[in-house]
């Protein structure tokens, strides 16, 4: 059964130095507040997995929390480059960043295999590209039935998955709706999980197209209103597009980034929704 804790307690209990952590959310419901809490708690040597590492992973990388990144698209959506990610890859600042690079189809299937209790997933993918040459976790495999040549990727089983959802009830059942990306797969693939939610309610009203992660499949739940800002939470608040634009200039130089980090993540403490 999931336990309801504070964000600080949840991160302290679940995330340790050197862990493989997946914080998922596809444009919608990105667990930004939890990412800031990891920075504040000073975790180091993390391996971070995420299909679309956007500004929250840029912040964790720039803050020096990350040793390795497993990903398929690393950009600021609709804006351009992630400057802290680029500085780490191109100039090893603030430390060298190892990367393991996939396509979206490959990453999605790695989570599916992880959630399914299988050692690998099979797909039609990567063929003819340069990715397999640089990513050892992409291998050809022959179908035992048709002899067809396909591609295998290993299961991704994070130590910890962190996702954000709209609601949970007091028993720890989690409800999310709208675009839900690979959140379900990430939570089911992970050994431990933390779900931040907009609100904890007495009873979950069914939502058309919504998804429920039952309490017995979830580790910890923390109530963090606004915890996905500047991304959005459908039914609660809109995406703060200006913050994504502003991140481009804040993150471009090391100095302005470090000033932002000191002011917005450390000084602002547990006040969430403070990406700019």
């Amino acid at each position: 059964m999931a336990r309801i804790v504070s964000l600080r307690e949840g991160v302290a209990e679940l995330v340790g130095d050197g862990d493989l952590v997946a914080m998922e959310g596809f444009t919608h419901l990105i667990p930004v507040a939890a990412g800031h809490e990891i920075i504040r708690q000073g975790r180091r040597d993390l391996t971070l997995a995420r299909m679309t590492p956007d500004i929250i992973y840029d912040q964790l990388i720039g803050a020096g929390c990350v040793r390795k990144l497993i990903f398929s698209w690393g950009g600021n959506p609709g804006v351009g480059s992630l400057h802290r990610f680029r500085d780490a890859v191109e100039n090893s600042w603030p430390r060298p960043l190892e990367i393991e690079e996939h396509s979206h189809a490959g990453m999605a299937n790695r989570y599916v295999a992880g959630a399914s209790g299988l050692p690998f997933a099979v797909l039609r993918g990567y063929v003819g590209t340069d990715l397999p040459e640089h990513t050892p976790n992409i291998k050809p495999i022959r179908c035992p039935f048709t002899e067809e040549q396909l591609t295998a990727v290993p299961a991704l089983n994070p130590d910890v998955a962190i996702v954000h959802a709209q609601r949970a009830d007091r028993a720890g059942n989690v409800q999310m709706w709208g675009i839900t990306g690979v959140q379900k797969e990430a939570v089911l693939a992970a050994r431990r999980s933390l779900v931040t939610v907009e609100e904890v309610v007495d009873e979950l009203e069914p939502k058309p197209g919504g998804m429920v992660l039952p309490t017995w499949a979830v580790g910890l739940v923390a109530e963090v209103p606004g915890g996905a800002r500047p991304s959005y939470a459908q039914g609660y608040y809109e995406r703060v597009n200006d913050d994504y634009q502003e991140w481009d200039s804040i993150s471009r130089e090391r100095e302005s980034f470090e000033r932002w980090l000191a002011e917005q993540v450390f000084t602002a403490g547990e006040q969430v929704g403070s990406a700019s």
């Binding site: 596809f26 189809a105 999605a108 039609r124 993918g125 990567y126 003819g128 590209t129 040549q149 990306g181």
Partner: protein
């Protein structure tokens, strides 16, 4: 001759891309120009165009241009909202999607795409780009691929620094050898004109110049000896109606 309204290179690209989308087709769109083009097409000749965004929105019907592929409006107006693994495994991989729109940081003469690194080598790149995203499998499995990209010597490269997504590989027959089910890039729209693969050589061949663009400009903006169609045509200038629809969309977006 009636007086034409002035238009920008971006507007010409959007209009040319919109015209290429037929009604009832299903189309995998990213943010930016492809999404603009698809939404213009839906308001013009292709009201039944099915827009698919990789965030999991099938049949989205946005009333303004979405700001991200996961814009809440896409989920609210979609026929179905599905998980990301399902997008790639159930819908893209079996070849159910007609058209995939892609862009490129580098493009070679066979329509192969680089969006990974430029300069240096993979472990020490000069410029680290966002990477693959959905593109490798979109390029492999959509029935056909439209590429929208600004043409320059830097972008139209004689050799890619990295192959992120396969077009026609090293030439005719390569896609079949690799087992890629879709037809690959059938259309490349740039700010100067339109290129299509030569059916015999699979090499991108300039088939149309946009109004105002010259053949010399197109050759200068190409990092290889550009093939030109014998019956090189001119792209029709954007009509009054096309520009009105396009501008209404872009002006309504912040």
């Amino acid at each position: 001759m009636s007086e034409q309204r002035e238009h920008t290179a971006d507007e010409m690209m959007s209009v040319a891309a919109a015209r290429a989308l037929r009604d009832d087709a299903s189309c995998f769109v990213g943010i930016g120009l492809p999404s603009t083009a698809a939404n213009v097409a839906r308001r013009m000749h292709a009201p039944n165009l099915v827009l698919i965004y990789e965030s999991g929105c099938l049949g989205a019907k946005p009333d303004r241009l979405p700001l991200s592929i996961g814009d809440g409006m896409l989920a609210e107006t979609a026929d179905a909202v599905i998980g990301v693994p399902e997008v790639f495994n159930y819908w893209l991989q079996p070849g159910r999607i007609d058209v995939g729109f892609l862009s490129a940081a580098q493009l070679d003469k066979f329509g192969n795409i680089n969006t990974t690194i430029v300069g240096g080598d993979y472990d020490n790149p000069k410029v680290r780009l966002p990477g693959a995203g959905g593109a490798p499998e979109i390029a492999a499995s959509c029935r056909e691929v439209f590429i929208v990209v600004r043409q320059s010597r830097r972008t139209f490269a004689s050799k890619l620094d990295f192959v992120t997504s396969v077009g026609h590989g090293s030439g005719p027959g390569e896609r079949e050898r690799l087992g890629l089910s879709g037809a690959g890039p059938t259309l490349v729209i740039t700010d100067l004109g339109v290129l299509r693969p030569d059916p015999r050589t699979a090499e991108l061949t300039l088939t149309e110049l946009h109004p105002g663009a010259t053949l010399e400009e197109a050759r200068d903006a190409t990092g290889w000896d550009l093939a030109v169609a014998e019956d090189l045509g001119q792209t029709p200038t954007p009509t009054e109606q096309e520009l009105t629809v396009l501008r209404a969309l872009t002006e309504a977006s912040p």
